[in-house]
Assembly symmetry: C2
């Protein structure tokens, strides 16, 4: 018995609010028989929570249980395993979606999964559905432009590059730090040294019921911050 | 006679495909009595084209006729005029939307209009609806990550900074040039000099029926390119 290859969709679900899904993402979810997400269990995960109001009881939902790892991928994060599972579904003729927070191509697990998929199953068609990034959503909440006119925007992962913070600030353009909690002490220090503390803001869990905004980022040093903390500097 | 102030919505419509609108953008459009867009005439404009399939005959549509200008805004682009028109509608109690291509805060006219609006009508509530950026959409089409792991992404407006292209490439991370047509000869030259021509791609009018993708960006030198051309370098 042979099956027609189905498409694997890598779907950006946006920064965390269901109504920031695109119409395309909604349509892909509607037609997907199996939905994988990065979360630790089938019924638990951030991206799953975003799409949960749209799912039907007859859709299969699988937590991919991806590890969160800093540094180079030594193969234990689980991207390869997920890629194999997605390819298997597609080869059985089942349309399958892999969810990813924000935009899949901007620090999203979807970009790694898509890479592995092309490598382990080059015959399987893959379509990436772009999403609203956390940076766009945070900028909208603050009413702060990410970039205007001649400005050059730098987008930096906060889990890396603590020693380059000053240098990046000295480029002069706006900067957006993803996952900023990890480097916040250094960031505050370098901003203070340059007299730019009042040009920065921190948005934690943008759009969530428990969103917090710090217009003085040094206040954020006093609290426990979520992994989903983003600093904009203008 | 007095009216309750309505909200002005600054709405990102995404890079050009109707199905890349967010559910929130669709809902805001549904409830908007008046819809402004940047286009030259009431019935003509890029952002208008994206939302056109969703509009109803009883909605008022106005082309803001914004000028396209390089360099500092000398006040003649029309942002102030549009801000006044939006404030007027809101003060009459009419919910009004201003459309902007891509994400309003990433080189979008929406960011200027929102700024002017806060300045000329601080009493009028403004809500910015983030959108999918052209960079996210182009990356999805190419299957190229914008940034992964420790990579620092630089987003540069191609209508400026021709002399800094080499320096920006030498930062080492991925780069996305918006409106790249203006600097393409310099960009190709600097990429060639660094042996990185095969690390670049150009996407013109991403998602449109007349989209073009150049995996060898030097081929794009031979054709007339649209303003909506984006170069990704990895």
């Amino acid at each position: 018995m042979s099956f027609e290859l189905a498409t694997v969709y890598v779907v950006g679900v946006g920064p965390g609010e269901t109504d920031l899904l695109t119409l395309r993402a909604v349509k892909v979810l509607e037609r997907s028989e199996v939905i994988f997400h990065p979360g630790p269990r089938d019924d638990t995960g951030f991206a799953l929570g975003v799409v949960a109001p749209l799912l039907r009881p007859n859709q299969v939902v699988r937590g991919a249980s991806l590890a969160m790892r800093r540094g180079p991928d030594d193969g234990t994060v689980g991207y390869e395993r997920v890629a194999q599972l997605l390819a298997h579904e597609a080869r059985q003729g089942r349309t399958v979606a892999f969810l990813t927070e924000g935009d899949p191509m901007l620090f999203g697990s979807g970009s790694y999964v898509a890479e592995r998929l092309r490598s382990v199953a080059p015959d399987v068609p893959v379509e990436i559905v772009p999403g609203v990034s956390a940076s766009s959503s945070a900028a909208a909440r603050l009413g702060w432009p990410l970039a205007q006119k001649d400005e050059i925007l730098t987008i930096c992962p906060g889990t890396y590059h603590p020693d380059e913070i000053g240098e990046i600030l000295d480029r002069g353009g706006p900067v957006c730090w993803f996952k900023a909690a990890a480097v916040l002490p250094q960031l505050v220090e370098e901003l203070r040294r340059r007299g730019r503390l009042d040009h920065a803001a921190l948005v934690e869990r943008v759009g969530h019921p428990n969103e917090r905004i710090f217009l003085d980022v040094s206040d954020a040093l006093k609290v426990n911050l979520s992994y989903f903390s983003l600093v904009l500097v203008r």
